[in-house]
Symmetry: C2
Subunit: 428 residues, 2 copies
């Protein structure tokens, strides 16, 4: 990640693509996130960059990477150079000849399909919020002490990369083994049935860019050199399947059925203005081991990213109601920073490869309004929430659509966003 | 997997490649496992098949797949057809013209490097042996009840595909977070240091061949259509790192530093004569849910594969001593069959993709002589084993080489093997 802001971050810069100057757009000229698109009726996936309500066909216009996977593998400097070039050709002061050259390669969002940005390599998901961890522990193990390892080690598990899908794909309610409590006086039974406790988890996804050398842990101050960018991520979870299977090997089938990501990779460069101080460790927490500690990471290792979770039920869509805001949280409140996570995941010598993805973990903060999954919001389904139209939800029902939206906001910076991360539940 | 044995399984068949007729070879003409090799001094990885002490450059000789990844993606019938062709051109009765055509493409093992057969997609590892699970539970949670979910659900976790390496690669002792007991009267401390409890786990690896459709669980009787073949697998484990991190999300950094596999994929076709009845479930175990139960799987769902674990220390190599046999076990004793595992992993709709790998879990049987990791053999390091030269081992030391060897033996069938799965521990 660049240390110094440059002309690509100038909050006053405007684009000759008018929609990029709309104050509500996720994609002003200060953002320039990368993705993979296909023109309707064409076969070939192409590298694109979002600008306002358009996608620029990058490879058709400028020399450089031909695909997101090539872009991810390139050094940060090369990625930043592509960004600078795109910024200049799209900026309002680009000359008329350049505009005429570029314009034919700008496609309406409506004329393309956004695909998975790249094939994901290894996918790991971190237990990154101590508030989520405490809430989950209280629900899962009432009365027990909080995890003694939590404040020492960024806990995580590997997930299934084959079921990571792009925003907009339906999510089929999974079947799976569950232990069902019997009626009073009868025994619990184990069944293989559709989950009754389907949940979302609002997270960020970190895309790994340049790979690391096997056997060589990444120092915490080098970690951002290996993060290419960030997306929004919904770690769909089946709580009943997860609860039954998780001891002792952790979550498996309760998570592996689907993970939805937003289509654009908002680059580490674009995020530079939104790095803020990490959450201070409270007095009674253990000191950090050295491989997880750096003055620079304390000072600006967190990401100031607001994330909203919205729900639209089938009834709400029929009624023409807008999606209902369930949660507003901020990734800056995470207990573990992205650099700590990268340092930890490579601390045993495991290499990272371009296209690996790391989930931040559920982004819950202290306040109830920031709790980022239904497990927490409804206290395990026992206290259903009531939607504006009177519907209640303990967990997700068929037809429910979950939408994540993200925004980076900072004084003196142009606000940038991610595009929606959405998925609709379809019956088992 | 083929239901009926055919001419490729004829135990009396011999090859015009003399070394394939040696009774001690892993690679008689009845085996024909696939792998990826590179001729020394050449760049290009090639699809090969092992025959005696030679590798045949498959693509140079016969029409069909150009790589292991193409072979894995092909339907079982296509894979079987390649096998049949190879069997016929290598059989003793092949005509002289054919032999002269094939012979230049047979390379000495000594002239090639064996590489990873293919890039691994998703990697999951199953807790497949109830004996291993019981031993591990007794050591990890003395006095506690055995996992109540074990006999219901094939427990598993996802691992890191980027650190799966081919036989022969050194394994660097990983560093990691551990909770170290203090001297008497002093507190435990958490440190980031090289593991002191480095272990192996002897397993099989199942290579997924033809992929499955997202959202469609694979029926247990269809499962073998998606298994292309089997290798040996060493799931290296750092027990101190694993113990500290595993609650509640399961093993992560204690496993993700290295997994070694043998270089050849012994095909489902080659394994047909070695399918045997699954272990009968003891009287007090719960009945199987229907998606994990089939008469055919009970009758011949297990694999009769003997696996040996050998250890050679640096001192033993200096002394010219042969590797010492630590363990002999048999995969037929696994609690969960390959088909049950495939049915379970897809039971929530997760697809399998060609090149996915599934570890069987540690292959420990009932008897101590079959326990397949040091954790069990040394009871958590408390009862070190003594090697023939007087050295003792609680866990692995630098310079130790662990070698897995596998053999399929059945009445009326030619014995086939896997080639060594070996790795040597180098200092942190």
């Amino acid at each position: 990640m660049q240390d110094v802001l440059d002309e690509t971050h100038d909050p006053t810069a405007r684009s000759w693509v008018d929609s990029a100057n709309d104050s509500a757009t996720d994609f002003p000229i200060q953002n320039l996130p990368f993705g993979t698109f296909r023109r309707r009726g064409h076969d070939e996936p192409r590298l694109g960059v979002a600008i306002g309500d358009r996608v620029l066909d990058v490879y058709a216009c400028i020399d450089g990477p031909r695909s997101v996977s090539e872009l991810l593998a390139a050094p940060a400097e090369a990625r930043a150079a592509v960004r600078l070039t795109l910024h200049r050709v799209l900026r309002q002061d680009a000359n008329e000849g350049m505009r005429q050259f570029i314009a034919p390669h700008l496609l309406d969002f409506g004329s393309v399909d956004l695909l998975m940005p790249t094939r994901i390599g290894d996918y790991a998901d971190v237990f990154g919020s101590i508030h989520h961890a405490r809430n989950a522990a209280a629900l899962m193990r009432p009365g027990a002490a909080f995890f003694p390892n939590y404040a020492h080690v960024p806990l995580a598990y590997h997930g299934r990369s084959s079921t990571i899908v792009e925003s907009g794909r339906d999510v089929r309610r999974p079947r799976g083994q569950q232990r069902r409590r019997g009626a009073e006086g009868s025994d619990a039974t184990v069944v293989y049935e559709p989950t009754r406790r389907l949940d979302y988890e609002a997270e960020l996804g970190l895309f790994i860019g340049p790979g690391t050398t096997p056997g060589e842990p990444v120092g915490i101050d080098d970690a951002w050199n290996h993060v290419a960018g960030v997306c929004l991520l919904n770690d769909w979870s089946a709580r009943d399947i997860q609860a039954w299977e998780s001891d002792p090997l952790g979550p498996f089938m309760g998570k592996s059925f689907a993970t939805t990501i937003s289509p654009w990779i908002v680059t580490a460069e674009a995020l530079a203005p939104f790095r803020v101080a990490a959450v201070e460790r409270e007095g009674d927490l253990p000191p950090l081991l050295r491989y997880l500690d750096s003055a620079d990471d304390r000072q600006r290792g967190a990401l100031q990213i607001e994330v909203d979770v919205l729900l639209a039920t089938a009834a709400m869509r029929r009624e023409g109601a807008a999606p209902h805001l369930l949660t507003r949280t901020n990734a800056a409140g995470q207990f573990w920073t992205p650099a700590q996570v990268v340092a930890h995941i490579t601390s045993n010598g495991s290499p990272l490869r371009p296209g690996d993805l790391i989930g931040s973990g559920t982004l819950s903060g202290v306040e109830r309004s920031s709790w980022s999954c239904l497990l927490e919001l409804t206290r395990g389904g026992r206290e259903p929430i009531t939607l504006p139209n009177g519907e209640q939800r303990g967990f997700l029902e068929d037809g429910d659509e979950v939408i994540l939206r993200g925004r980076c906001v900072a004084p003196g910076a142009r606000t940038i966003g991610f595009g929606d991360c959405r998925g609709r539940v379809v019956p088992a």
